[in-house]
Symmetry: C2
Subunit: 438 residues, 2 copies
Amino acid sequence: MKKILTKAPYKGCRDLFPKEKRLQNYLFQHMSQVAQQFGYEPYDGPLLEPVELYLAKSGEELINEQIYSFMDRGERQVAIRPEMTPTLARMIANVHREISKPIRWYSIPNLMRYERPQKGRLREHWQLNVDIFGAPSPFAEVEIWQLIAELFFSFGAKSNHFSFQINDRRIVDTLLEKLALTQEQRYKFYKLIDRCKKITPEQLTTELEQLVQSPQLRSIALEYLQLNSLKDLSQWMDRHHLAKESMATIEQAFHMGAQLGLETLLCYDPSIVRGLDYYTGLVFEVFDQSPDNRRALCGGGSYDRLLEIFGDQALPGVGFGLGDVTLVDFLSSHDLLPKTEKNNLDIYVSYQVEEAQIAALQVAQALRRQQLQVEMAPGVQKYKKVFSLADQKDIKALIFIGEEEFKKQYFQYKILATQEQGEYPLASLDEFLTKLKK
Amino acid sequence: MKKILTKAPYKGCRDLFPKEKRLQNYLFQHMSQVAQQFGYEPYDGPLLEPVELYLAKSGEELINEQIYSFMDRGERQVAIRPEMTPTLARMIANVHREISKPIRWYSIPNLMRYERPQKGRLREHWQLNVDIFGAPSPFAEVEIWQLIAELFFSFGAKSNHFSFQINDRRIVDTLLEKLALTQEQRYKFYKLIDRCKKITPEQLTTELEQLVQSPQLRSIALEYLQLNSLKDLSQWMDRHHLAKESMATIEQAFHMGAQLGLETLLCYDPSIVRGLDYYTGLVFEVFDQSPDNRRALCGGGSYDRLLEIFGDQALPGVGFGLGDVTLVDFLSSHDLLPKTEKNNLDIYVSYQVEEAQIAALQVAQALRRQQLQVEMAPGVQKYKKVFSLADQKDIKALIFIGEEEFKKQYFQYKILATQEQGEYPLASLDEFLTKLKK
């Protein structure tokens, strides 16, 4: 006896049945449409990349713990892409000299990370990636924020459903200089900021004490983490005689955003640093404002030196990633999911006597050539059966060829929304089409 | 100094730059549209599956030589999907009891095989998979052939550009019984048939001599491989007193196909067996008829027992796979590739003085909210520069806000196809939209 295999998908991966795949297609269509409305061009890259590509860009942690990597038969250490940015950087490094700036590209790849599956996080997900290269700051950042906002609006979201939490790595660096930390301490400090909302105030204080000896400097850091607005930030900088140039970009960006209707969406958040990533300027995360789903939906920022790993000059870029799993959670928490249970069809063609099969197939073929979606009965079906099928699916009209109709070379139709019914000669399908289109 | 990384993609994988990705999107859109016109519903599954899923279905060869497999951190032996059918079978096994038949599903997954890259074959490709379960034969097969033909027609292909080479595994089995081969010899015989057009007649005779001792039986096998039509086949069966039931399905299928306009497309081909696969009835391959590209574009057939590996009852299925790499070669060989070099945009919004930036951004935003594709200039640009950019891209209309226009709160426009130009107040964007839509 043969071994019987499991019917479950691999851990952390999804079987997308038609209901779920139609939903995913709906997300992808909106993503593509909005990206293209902003003039972004599609791209895609390989599923596998050399591991060293991720090693060069990300921290060791990602490589060691979170990546699917293995040796191929040619002794190359390869990884299933856990993110798109390194591939994007490699592709841009190939072509940036020949194309005019800014370069605006988007992609919706499938990615894999070795994670413990939990709400909003799976091992496999699809992620919209949108990036702009060679545009001035903060023009580029504001365009990216606009694009994200328009994408969320396109799903029916309102301004109070989400918010942009924004910071600038250069502001954090100003603080780090004041704190006079070593490189290793800086790394730890970044990680601490990243987690500061997830730990208790006591934990925060304890961990901070380990990093910063001087109580005076510690209090500057703690004050920083309490800041709530650009005004707060400005006063804090004045108070501690910090260089305010690091605030210039974020202020300009908020000003531009406000004039484009994004004012209520943009918030200053000192805890956003995008931890171990490669960002160099503005960084942001978009948060769901629903009390049930307070989590980051997407994140991004600006980066300057990504092409250096290919021996190329710096080229400023701004980008973000938005995963399909977190997006579905967001839409669900605001009751914005479309109905995708049923297959939406124009016409179901049935026949009630065997001799009518070819005639019915020919009707179906002619209707499809008019771009209609037509499902064909697989054999003789009684009228009652056809009506019950129409209930299960979402069908606009039914066609029947019974014994009488076949003899007279007619077909019967019924339009379900209006309950209108009638008949046409098989040779006069065009007239039926005209009626349908009305 | 840091190590400089390669800019090349991983061997056998593609970087899809916008030109190539727009082409792929064009293919995918046609695939989805035609599948949906036939009532097929979308699905997708995990990128990784347990290796045993492929082991259960395919021959050892695929597993040992052609699959990307590795041990995950949980000590599971997993594989990157080399094909979609095992995943499909697993998913169908989960739901087939609850949904009405026939089940019609399609998918366009990315797949990876460890192959030597060559024309038409890469390590990574995307493949349209269309399958129908629980429909009678040959209704199901003919619907699948119709769908393939309509898909090719939708790309502009003509009936003389491709052909279906069709056989039935049961016909081959009838021959194998006559030859009285052992199980192991049968396996070798299948592989020989599979290759018979790629080797010389002498090689064929030599290999056949090794398998079949009797010269009389060998000549029956050689006659078989010469058959060119169902009429030939029928006469050969009569001549050698073979059971003609094995011909019934293919005859009926050709008859139905003929009445749906497929007559000239359907050819009997004794060498089609779909080698090591799991097919049990009709099998087919679609061939490019161009002398430059004589290769199989897609293949498929009917299979009955795919669900048995999950302990489920047999459920008849018919399906096919069509890869994007071979499809592009086909379209290219018949000069059917669309132009995808340029980004197709509706409007480019520029400004010629710094003060006009916000006004220009607001114009761009308003136009996008009318579903237009609008690219925004990243900074002040001279008129001449804007015209030269318009040449590089494929843009319908240009908008300018220069010093004079900004003062008077106007914008200038130029519609490139008609060379029409003029101006509107910034507040009267609606009127401009009405003009554009005409």
